[in-house]
Amino acid sequence: MSDDTITTGGAAEAAAADAAGEATGEATGGPSRRSVLGWGGAGLALGAAAAGGTVAALTDTTDPVPAALSGSAVPFHGKHQAGIASAVQDRLHFAAFDVKTKDRAELVQLLKDWTRAAERMTAGLPVGEGAVGGLPEAPPDDTGEALGLKPSRLTLTIGFGASLFAKDRFGLEGMRPEALIDLEQFPGDNLDPAKSGGDLCVQACADDPQVAVHAIRQLARIGFGKTAVRWSQLGFGKTSSTTPDEQTPRNMMGFKDGTRNVSGTDTAALDKHVWVSDEAKGASAWMADGSYLVARRIRMRIETWDRTPLQEQEDIFGRDKAEGAPVGKSKERDEPFLKAMKPQAHVRLAHPESNSGATILRRGYSFTDGSDGLGRLDAGLFFLAYQRDVRKGFVPIQRNLSKNDALNEYIQHVSSALFAVPSGVRDKDDWWGRALFA
């Protein structure tokens, strides 16, 4: 998929550290980590099992150990939702929901309930009254499989699909932002409607898969009757990085993918390409400080790819397989010289220069869902991309790629969804989507 959708302002990392607190684990941009933990600490006495993780988070403020290694908590509150510019975690559980209730007040209550649960879970605490110690006759509020695990940098990020804004549903038709378009059918798409779309989505990222799965499971449970899971996807092995100091992980094709991704610390690039401006007007006004998320399940034809000669593989990507250097260069992060690549090379076609500057922030994951019944690995890339406006981000890039990319012979898009991802939850009185439903 759209590899190397780079930003131009790659040098601004240091100066940008402030606004991207999530990325480094430092709560400098939004409310302080202290305030979050102060709140979380109230639950600590109840949720003793979470103590290890939360203590780790506390000490982390003075500890040079990178957040990724400490298992610490990423602040939930902030101007932007965590899970976008945040340093990419290792694991994903992504779920799309249909809203079943017709009652707007009930939907609002659910979003409040979800927010409160998300606050607890991202702090490493069980939801509600916890998983143990309650009435023996009743199921516990929390299912308990995350007891004793660290917060594992869990982030929970919510999005709203276009179907939520349909006429005669929740009175939101006038609030549908222009950028929340109906994605066109791109050449080669083979989309399964049952695994596409959704009224709501929640992206759970964590370094521990159990923590991510636990989080989605609790939200699904709280939602029963109001929402139903439409489809979901597990992911592993992040396929892109928002932290340029780390090595770019490899995708299922064995290539480094996303080397020139937007850095989570590059505020200039984030403001330009990812965050909706806080001057957003009209139907989009409630989206200020939010972003738009494209989710695509991209199946890879693993077996035929594996039978492709090395040179051809490298030509298809436009990078070498060992180092990940662009054609004609020696280091992964060397500036690519596009004209040295084949015209249909993936990196060349995905590059902003080939798409009038279109730039997106990617945080996709590899997936493997066993085999497909024909003995083929059901695997690929679960593509997640954030941008300020899909009409200027994903759409032009994908038009270009779906028509020309040499990689198309080995991939197929099988599921697709677009969500409006609102701004962050400011404090413990705020809730997911308040600006939309206010």
Partner: protein
């Protein structure tokens, strides 16, 4: 039918139930301390209404003209001990270990009805379970419901068995689903008799290792397969029909002895929804007859009955939960009605014709009802 289960409803024969309450029982002389019960066609006289907890013997004499039976009952009508078939002019003794608390003795001349009741009290150590009269009433009503379902099932099952025995494939097919309604409505209680469930409601894949489907598979689903998949009735099937009636009669007799508490009722209701989620929505239960929606409806009805009986207490303790359950039961029933032309019948659409999207919709509705239903026990236990 679930292949294996851990149920909160533990049905036990009277003796086993008593073993469970002996922990704190005081010793008490059986012989001269015996309680005399004089039963007649119109009276049930007890020589003493208060006695020490522990081992108690009832010396019963039937002075009436009808055969009678005598029960010692918990306030919620659960059976502590019983003796059936006490003929006119005969004597019988019932020995039971009884924990301190309030009980009733019932004589049932003609072995029918609620009987003639006498309140009695066992005194001493061993705390009796204290429960609100409202909850006792709910349990007693539910107990009655469970018995009625069993009683009403027998003639319907007999009609099904008769058709099988007459070699009437079409008639048997028509009678099949209806014969299961009562069982499906009260399945958690029915299943609590571990020996009956595997005989009447097991599916072929529920057999254990070493069991031979040809020999060891009995009950409704074995006949279902014969009727719909094999399309034949042989002598074997006819014998199975008789066996089904024998086993269901056993159930009818025992079901009144099930251990039922308010929380087990609540969790039983939830278990009925679990049954729907795991066996009906998936189309596993009635894989040959495709009458899954009939079972589905019966499971929901049984759950709703338990809920309605507990509702006075639940609504007081957790009004929001009760409102949610009212709403979700209504939504579930409305959804199910889409699959039958006439709400007064149990003629539901064949599950074969229910598409994947519709099954998803049904599954979502089951989750929407099952999740709040799992909180009912807590609301009742508050």
């Amino acid at each position: 039918m679930r292949p294996a289960r851990l149920t909160v409803l533990t049905a036990v024969a009277a003796v086993a139930a008593l073993t469970a309450v002996t922990g704190c029982a005081e010793k008490s002389g059986a012989g001269d301390g015996a309680v005399k019960v004089a039963a007649s066609d119109s009276a049930c006289e007890v020589s003493k209404t208060e006695f020490p907890a522990g081992k108690v013997t009832l010396e019963v004499e039937n002075k009436g003209s009808k055969v009678t039976e005598v029960y010692v009952l918990f306030p919620d009508d659960r059976i502590v001990a019983e003796r059936e078939n006490i003929g006119p002019g005969t004597k019988a003794s019932i020995t039971a270990e009884i924990k301190a608390g309030d009980y009733e003795i019932a004589c049932k001349p003609g072995m029918k009805g609620d009987g003639i009741r006498q309140k009695i009290k066992a005194t001493g150590n061993g705390a009796a379970e204290k429960r609100s009269p409202e909850l006792d009433a709910a349990v007693a009503e539910y107990r009655k419901y469970v018995q009625e379902q069993a009683d009403q099932t027998l003639p319907k099952a007999q009609a099904f068995a008769d058709a099988v025995k007459a070699g009437d494939v079409e008639g048997a097919k028509k009678a099949y689903a209806a014969s299961r309604l009562g069982w499906e409505r009260t399945e958690p209680v029915a299943e609590s008799f571990g020996d009956i469930d595997p005989k009447v409601d097991v599916r072929e894949d529920g057999l254990e290792a070493g069991q031979d489907p040809a020999k060891d598979w009995t009950g409704w689903h074995r006949l279902e397969k014969a009727l719909w998949a094999d399309n034949k009735i042989d002598d074997g099937e006819k014998k199975l029909a008789d066996q089904l009636i024998t086993d269901l009669t056993d159930w009818q007799k025992k079901v009144g002895q099930a251990e039922i508490t308010p929380t087990s009722m609540a969790n039983g209701a939830k278990e009925l929804l679990d049954e729907v989620a795991s066996g009906k929505v998936t189309g596993e239960e009635e894989r040959y007859s495709r009458t899954d929606l009939v079972d589905f409806k019966a499971n929901v009805e049984g759950a709703q009955k338990a809920y309605e009986l507990l509702k006075p207490v639940a609504a007081k303790n957790d009004p929001a939960l009760s409102a949610e359950l009212d709403k979700q039961f209504a939504a579930m029933n409305t959804l199910l009605d889409k699959y039958r032309a006439d709400k007064n019948t149990y003629d539901f659409t064949s599950y074969e014709t229910v598409g994947q999207d519709q099954r998803k919709e049904l599954s979502d509705a089951v989750s929407a009802l099952g999740e709040p239903l799992s909180k009912l026990a807590a609301a009742v236990a508050k």
